[in-house]
Subunit: 329 residues, 2 copies
DNA sequence: AAAAGCCGTGGGAGCGCTCCCAGATTCCGG
DNA sequence: CCGGAATCTGGGAGCGCTCCCACGGCTTTT
C-alpha cells in the first residue's frame, strides 16, 4: 500500500506538505503542489480512510436511514436514496445505509463509533422514538418529514399542505362543486404520518375557502376498486378527484371507468406524485420532486457539518402541471 | 469520548485485554470478561471505527453498487438492498452505497482507500467494464448477475434459464401448443443483459423439446397495449403466455382482455417475478426470491472475507406456484 | 539597520485501536 | 519437588494520517 510518506519521499517534500496539498488547509506554492500531485498520480496514492478518520475525527461518511414499511412508494424512496448518494459524493462524502429496523440502537452505534459524521433520516413519524436520540447525539442530523415536535431538529419535506390546497383550488377553479381526495392507505393515517394529514388539511381548508364540498378517503391500492365504488356510491355528485397514492392511481382509473365514469368528461382527476406516471397517463398532476428533496436534505446536512446554521424547517414547493385529465369546463 | 484505555482502567485490566474480550481472539477468564463487559456498559464504550480500521486493516464495511438504469424493476432492487443490509448486519458489517454511475473509479476509490473490505455489485452486464477492475482489486467481490466471462469472479443469480423452461413446460403440460414469452424492455436485450437472454433460451429450449411452438417478444411497459395487440394479431392461435416483466403485467392483462381474450379461458398466463403481485392477481407465477438473493450474495461475500473458498457460480432455483390463471384443461 | 510581518515548509506528537512478544501463574506427571 | 505445558494477562510498537509548533527566508515597516 502506498502511504503518504511514500508520496512525500517521491516528491521530495515532507508528509505534512502532502497532507496540506490534499486538504488545502494551508497555502502551498504552485510548484510544490504540482510536484506532489504528480507523485500522487505516479504512485496511485489513496489516503487510508481509517487513518484519516482517526486523525481528523471525520469519516466523510453520512448515514442514511431508509424506511422499509408498507404504504410508502418504493420508487420514490429509491429516487431519493440515489439523489442523496449522488449529492453526498459532490461533497466528497459517502453514504452508509441503515434500515429503519435498526432503530435507535443503529443510530447510537454508527454515531458512537464515529463511523459517520452525520445522519439523514427518511420517513419520520409524528412521534418517532428516534427523536430524543437524534437531539442528544453529538452529530448533526436532518429529517425528511416533520414530527409533531420538530424543535431542536432540522426537517425538510414537501409542502403537502400546499399540494392538497392546490388540488382543491384547481378543481374549484374549474367549476367543480363536489370533490374528493383519495389518500394513502389506512395504515399510513393510523401511524400518524404527517404528510397524509397535511395533504388532507390543505385540501379541506382550500375547499372550505372556496365553498366546495370535499370528502377524503384513505385507500389501499389492493382495494382500489372497492374504494372507488364506495366513493362514487356515497357521493354520486362527485366530479373532481385528487389522488395522493401513487400505486393506486392506475387501479383507481380503471375502477372509475368500470363504474361508467369517463375521464375527464364525467370525472376530473389530479394525481399528487412523481411526474413520470402522471405524464404517461396524461394526468394533471402535482409533482413531488423526489430527487430535489434528497439533494436538499444532503445539502442541509453538509451545511450543519460545516457549522453553518441550517433552517429548522424547509418546505419544498410542489408544482401543478395541468394535463388533459382536468380540462377547463 | 470513552476510549479503550478508560475501560481498561475502570476494569483494572490492560487495554489489550479489553481488545481481546471484544474480539474474542484469545481466551479470557470468565471473571475478567465479565468485569470488562460491565465496565464497557457502565462507561458506554464504543470502539472508534476509524482506529479499528487503521489498526486491524478491516473496516467492517462492504460496498453495495446499486443500478440506476431503466428496465430494472425498482421494488426488486430495493428488496435486495434491504436484504443485503440486514444480512450484512448479522455479520457485524455495514453497507456503503455506491451508484452504478460512479463506475470503475468508485470501486477503485472505496477499495483503494480501505473504506470497504469487500464489494457487492448488482446488475452486472455481459461485458461489464468493471470486470477487469474487480478481478484485479485486492478485495473480494460478488456479482449479482452473470457476465459473458465470469472466470475469476464469484457470481450469483436466479436460474432464469430454468425459470423460462419451467414456464414452457408448465404450459406444454397443460396442453398448450402455441405459447409466447413476453420479456423485458428492448433496451435490456440490446444492452446484452444476461438474465433476459437466459430466460428466453430456457423457454425456447423447453418448448422445442415438447414440440410446442414458441415466440418471444420484448416489451416496454409503456407500450404494453401495442405489444399485446401485435402479438395476438401475429399469432392468433396463441393460448399460453409467460410474462417476464413485472411492471408490464397489469397493463398486459388489461390489454389482453381489451382484445377480447378471457383469462384463463382463452389465454393462460404465467408471471415470472415477485410473488406478491402474482398472488394478488391470482396468477400462476415463477417466483424470484429477491431477499434470498441479497442474503446469499452477502453470505458469499463474507465467506470470501473469511478466506473461505466460494463457488464461482451460484444459481438460485425459482419455484412455480400454480394459481388460477393456468387451469388444467 | 533592526524589527516585524508574511509565506512556504518540516518535524513529529498523537488520534484509538490491534496484536506480537513476553511474563506470570497454575497444573500436571514423573 | 521440579520441569514443562497450559492458561491467562500486560506492555507497547505501530497502523497512516492530521495539524500544532517552529523555522528560514524574504519583504516591508520603523
Amino acid at each position: 500500500m502506498v502511504k503518504i510518506s511514500d508520496v512525500a519521499r517521491h516528491a521530495g517534500v515532507s508528509p505534512s506538505t502532502v497532507s496540506y496539498v490534499l486538504s488545502g488547509k494551508r497555502s502551498i506554492s504552485d510548484q510544490t503542489r504540482r510536484r506532489v500531485m504528480d507523485s500522487i498520480r505516479a504512485l496511485g496514492y489513496r489516503p487510508h480512510a481509517g487513518a484519516r478518520a482517526l486523525a481528523s475525527n471525520r469519516s466523510n461518511v453520512i448515514a442514511l436511514v431508509v424506511p422499509l414499511r408498507s404504504g410508502i412508494h418504493v420508487p420514490i424512496v429509491m429516487q431519493m436514496v440515489i439523489a442523496a448518494v449522488t449529492t453526498a459524493r459532490t461533497y466528497d462524502h459517502d453514504v452508509l445505509l441503515l434500515t429503519q429496523d435498526e432503530g435507535v440502537g443503529g443510530l447510537e452505534r454508527v454515531a458512537g463509533s464515529a463511523l459517520v459524521d452525520a445522519i439523514l433520516v427518511m420517513d419520520v413519524e409524528m412521534h418517532d422514538v428516534r427523536l430524543p436520540v437524534l437531539r442528544s447525539l453529538d452529530r448533526p442530523s436532518v429529517l425528511i418529514g416533520f414530527p409533531a415536535d420538530p424543535s431542536g431538529l432540522t426537517c425538510i419535506d414537501w409542502d403537502f399542505e400546499a399540494a392538497g390546497a392546490a388540488c382543491a383550488e384547481h378543481l374549484a377553479d374549474l367549476g367543480h362543486r363536489e370533490i374528493a381526495l383519495i389518500g394513502a392507505p389506512p395504515a399510513v393515517y393510523e401511524r400518524g404520518t404527517g404528510f397524509a394529514e397535511r395533504t388532507k388539511a390543505g385540501f379541506q381548508r382550500a375547499a372550505a375557502e372556496r365553498g366546495v364540498h370535499a370528502v377524503v378517503r384513505p385507500c389501499d391500492p389492493e382495494h382500489a376498486r372497492e374504494t372507488a365504488a364506495d366513493l362514487l356510491r356515497d357521493h354520486p355528485g362527485l366530479t373532481g378527484i385528487a389522488v395522493h397514492n401513487e400505486p393506486a392511481v392506475e387501479p383507481l382509473l380503471t375502477a372509475f371507468r368500470a363504474s361508467g365514469r369517463r375521464i375527464p368528461d364525467d370525472l376530473s382527476v389530479i394525481a399528487i406524485g412523481p411526474d413520470d406516471l402522471a405524464a404517461r397517463l396524461e394526468l394533471t398532476s402535482i409533482s413531488i420532486p423526489a430527487e430535489e428533496l434528497g439533494r436538499q436534505a444532503v445539502a442541509l446536512l453538509m451545511d450543519k457539518l460545516n457549522g453553518d446554521q441550517a433552517p429548522g424547517a424547509t418546505l419544498l414547493p410542489s408544482r401543478l402541471v395541468a394535463r388533459s385529465s382536468t380540462p377547463a369546463a
